[in-house]
């Protein structure tokens, strides 16, 4: 009862502070025309209340996380486990909290500098890009300096993948941070249970797959990237629409929101690919029994009702894919649905393409459908070549083919955005090709990846030239 009343108190407190901040925003808006000074005072008070509300919300989330973590543990070891310094969930929360706090603070500082000190009254895309870059660099710097000094990362040497075995811990978590060292820029920790059976070995192999390919580091970088875009947007919108300090067009806000959405779904796709790659790694280490062990591990965590990976909770299916074919076949792309790469990459491509347009109404869905159809059809054209070099499952070949087609399409759309600056067009297209090669290299060896890129790129270019000629020639050049 005590816990419940405490929780209710926290909810009430958070709610009342949010309400106070909303009231202050309303007062600020009402008094803006008559008394600008008073409006600013109300706004600042409201911001203060908002931060206090956020603090209580975070406090509540932490207590909820603690509770869910307690459910994962056996009842007799709850108290000892909570006091354990090597608590992965608490460590994860600490890292997320630091990233969130630094992200919002740095973007706030940068935006304030632009609005108050540089006195820029009309926010353009260039201002957004500058504030994004500055926040990103500052946050990366802070992450490199602070995160390697938190909890068990302090005792981990740079370049080391430390395995921490915890008593009564079900499942596994891999964490990684960037660090400043001449030995290696990464530190990784794997948390797994201390039982010595085939199921724990399968989990360990899966987590080792994450650690050897530095997936947590990529995730850390992408989180920082996302926060660096969200932060300045929030600040500029609040400065513009609540304090009326500057003007930011609603069109620019929508474009930035689209970029945030694209980055978000791209990160989700990366997460799914990373999990599939870790599954494929586990298959290579453990062999054919890996899938059965995985189902048993899921049963331990989520209950006896789990008969296959499809029965796992929704969140697990979203992040880890539902079929988890990679752990049955060893092909990292066999777990992904055929529609995933075309849909996500077309969304990103259409977001990049819309940057140059002055309207998104109707054009954006048309661009999305256009890129979806084009990437899908080009993927089908690439399929016979890709199948020859990929040499794994049929679904994996299809997905790899769509991935390649999507990357080419994105690189050519970036190049089109750079038009009429010819040097920029050529350099952005070259960067796109290099990116395609790097991504291909992640799935194939050097020899085969070179062959795939060399074989598919001319096809892509010739299709583009052909379409161009068909469109231009009937209109008399």
């Amino acid at each position: 009862m005590k816990v419940l009343s405490k929780k209710l108190d926290n909810i009430k407190l958070a709610f009342s502070f949010f309400l106070l901040s909303i009231l202050n925003a309303i007062f600020s808006n009402l008094t803006f025309k008559t008394n600008r000074y008073l409006a600013e005072v109300f706004f600042l008070i409201g911001t203060g209340f908002l931060f206090i509300g956020i603090f209580f919300t975070i406090f509540m989330v932490i207590s909820l996380f603690k509770e869910s973590q307690n459910q994962l543990l056996k009842s007799d070891s709850k108290s000892s486990y909570n006091k354990n310094v090597n608590n992965p969930l608490i460590l994860q929360l600490k890292i997320s909290f630091i990233l969130l706090l630094t992200g919002l603070s740095y973007s706030g500082l940068v935006s304030t500098y632009i609005v108050w000190i540089l006195h820029i009254t009309d926010i353009t895309s260039i201002d957004l890009i500058i504030s994004f870059t500055l926040s990103f660099l500052l946050e990366i710097m802070t992450a490199i300096l602070i995160l390697p000094r938190i909890g068990p990362f302090r005792e981990t040497r740079p370049g080391e993948t430390r395995i921490i075995k915890l008593h009564d811990f079900r499942g596994g978590i891999t964490m990684g941070v960037l660090t400043l060292s001449r030995h290696s820029p990464f530190k990784s920790i794997i948390f797994i249970g201390d039982e010595d059976d085939s199921i724990t070995r399968t989990i360990e192999a899966h987590e080792l797959g994450h650690a050897t390919e530095y997936h947590p580091i990529f995730l850390e970088l992408s989180t920082i990237f996302l926060l660096s875009i969200i932060g300045p947007l929030i600040w500029f919108v609040s400065f513009g629409y609540t304090m009326h300090r500057e003007v930011i067009s609603i069109f620019l806000v929508i474009k930035t929101v689209l970029i945030i959405l694209s980055a978000g779904i791209a990160i989700l796709l990366f997460l799914r690919v990373a999990e599939s790659r870790a599954d494929a790694f586990a298959y290579k280490v453990i062999g054919k029994s890996a899938y059965e062990n995985l189902v048993e591990a899921l049963r331990r965590v989520y209950g006896e009702n789990i008969k296959s990976t499809e029965d796992a909770p929704l969140w697990s299916k979203i992040t880890h894919t539902s079929s988890r074919n990679a752990i049955k076949t060893g092909d990292p792309l066999s777990s992904m649905g055929i529609w995933e790469f075309p849909v996500v990459l077309s969304f990103i491509a259409s977001t990049i393409a819309i940057i140059r347009f002055n309207s998104i109404y109707i054009i954006y869905p048309l661009l999305f459908v256009g890129s979806l159809v084009v990437s899908f059809l080009i993927g089908l054209v690439f399929l016979p070549i890709v199948r020859k070099y990929y040499r794994m499952t049929e679904r994996g070949s299809l997905n790899f083919s769509f991935l390649l087609a999507g990357i080419y399409m994105i690189s050519s759309i970036i190049a089109l955005d750079a038009y009429p600056n010819l040097y920029l067009v050529i350099s952005s297209f070259l960067i796109g090709i290099i990116l395609a090669f790097i991504i291909t290299r992640a799935f194939l060896d050097l020899h085969n990846s070179t062959k795939v890129v060399v074989a598919t790129l001319p096809i892509y270019l010739s299709i583009n030239i052909l379409i161009g000629l068909i469109k231009i020639l009937p209109h008399g050049g």
């Binding site: 649905g337 055929i338 529609w339 075309p342 849909v343 109707i362 869905p365 048309l366 999305f368 459908v369 979806l372 159809v373 899908f376 059809l377 089908l380």
Partner: protein, 159 residues
């Protein structure tokens, strides 16, 4: 030959087209309908328009046929294209939009639905052929569009 056809699937594709068109109309409704302009004087039946419609319809039919390899992508494309079409068609109001689409639309959408379904069954030997043949109703739809639809529209807009 058509006993194995999943009629529910064809119907659901048809419904997707209709829902998309309606969605486009709703977008127009919230945006505000514009006044219809005076009709351009076209010869009735307009065979040039008929050929143009056949070209456009067959391009779209080929695309959705190939996209049938993956049902989700096919549905996304059908839905978004029909929303955009609905937005264009219902610019001057629901009634004019319906008059402009109904005479040929019923057959046209039926043809597209059959071809989309045939695309899903591309790997079944001999099964899609009949569907594709029926999908040629698109030719009739193009003829109706270039003769009946523009005739009806012209007379209503002149009134």
């Amino acid at each position: 030959m058509l006993s194995d056809v999943n009629r529910k699937e064809i119907f659901s594709i048809y419904i997707t087209f209709l829902l998309g068109l309606l969605g486009g109309g709703i977008v127009d409704y919230f945006k505000g309908f514009s006044k219809p302009g005076l009709p351009i004087c076209l010869p009735i039946p307009d065979y040039q328009l008929s050929l143009k419609v056949i070209e456009v319809n067959f391009t779209f039919a080929i695309i959705i046929f190939i996209l049938g390899i993956n049902r989700i992508i096919q549905r996304i494309v059908i839905l978004i294209v029909s929303i955009v079409m609905g937005e264009i068609v219902f610019t001057s109001g629901f009634l004019i939009g319906l008059i402009g689409t109904l005479p040929h639309g019923i057959l046209e959408l039926f043809g597209f639905s059959l071809i989309a379904y045939a695309g899903q069954k591309i790997r079944c030997k001999n099964k899609p052929i009949m569907l594709i043949l029926i999908g040629f109703t698109l030719l009739f739809a193009a003829f109706i569009e270039s003769s009946l639809t523009i005739y009806v529209l012209k007379h209503i807009l002149l009134k």
